[in-house]
């Protein structure tokens, strides 16, 4: 299933700097986009989402950007904090479905 790609498996940034996590998708039917983060030995935790009618959504330090024409989703975390170190998954769904399609995840490490 190659509908969702998180091409970089890991990212390391310094505390206080911006973290940018990227995700590409191929299915033009996706209409709702979500980011989850996951700590070891825990389940995924919902972080932020955006619908296809918007191109940006902010929640505190987290901003999600959607470029529908490029089928590209990104998550910006600024300023990054050591507690943000986790695996981040982009996920997608389409109208009428309860199913989330996940990317493979990207490990973010924020160094103090």
């Amino acid at each position: 299933d190659q509908q969702v790609k998180q091409n970089s498996p890991s990212l390391s940034v310094q505390e206080g700097r911006i973290s940018i996590l990227n995700c590409d998708y191929t299915n033009s039917m996706f209409d709702y986009f979500l980011w989850y983060k996951k700590y070891p030995a825990e389940g995924p935790t919902f972080l932020i989402s955006i619908s296809s009618i918007k191109d940006k959504n902010e929640d505190g330090r987290f901003t999600v950007f959607l470029n529908k024409s490029a089928k590209h989703l990104s998550l910006h975390i600024v300023p990054s904090q050591p507690g943000d170190s986790a695996v981040y998954f982009c996920s997608f769904t389409q109208g009428g479905s309860e199913k989330l399609v996940f990317g493979k995840g990207m490990k973010l490490t924020v160094n103090p």
Partner: protein, 111 residues
């Protein structure tokens, strides 16, 4: 903050045996889900459950799998005859699509 609780945290079973994974969803949620993550792979949707019936299932969710809400609080996933390739983390979730809540998972190891 309300939690989705899964038990056991780790289950080891012999190939061919039946296993039941248990979940207690958040009490006022109406939609329930099972996902799994095979080591090194993506989190994959298995099934969604609403109003005491399956509302959607993936191609992974074959006749070996079943779900049940045996009482007002529990939500279970049964695998009838486990195979080696069923070894994975199994996550229960509840809520609605716009950011549902996952449990911490059950690590199933089939030997």
């Amino acid at each position: 903050e309300p939690e989705v609780t899964q038990t056991p945290s780790h289950q080891v079973t012999q190939m061919g045996q039946e296993v039941i994974l248990r979940c207690v969803p958040i009490s006022n949620h109406l939609y329930f889900y099972w996902y799994r993550q095979i080591l090194g792979q993506k989190v994959e949707f298995l099934v969604s459950f609403y109003n005491n019936e399956i509302s959607e299932k993936s191609e992974i969710f074959d006749d070996q799998f079943s779900v049940e809400r045996p009482d007002g609080s529990n939500f279970t996933l049964k695998i009838r005859s486990t195979k080696l390739e069923d070894s994975a983390m199994y996550f229960c979730a509840s809520g609605q699509i716009y950011g549902y809540t996952f449990g911490s998972g059950t690590r199933l190891t089939v030997v």
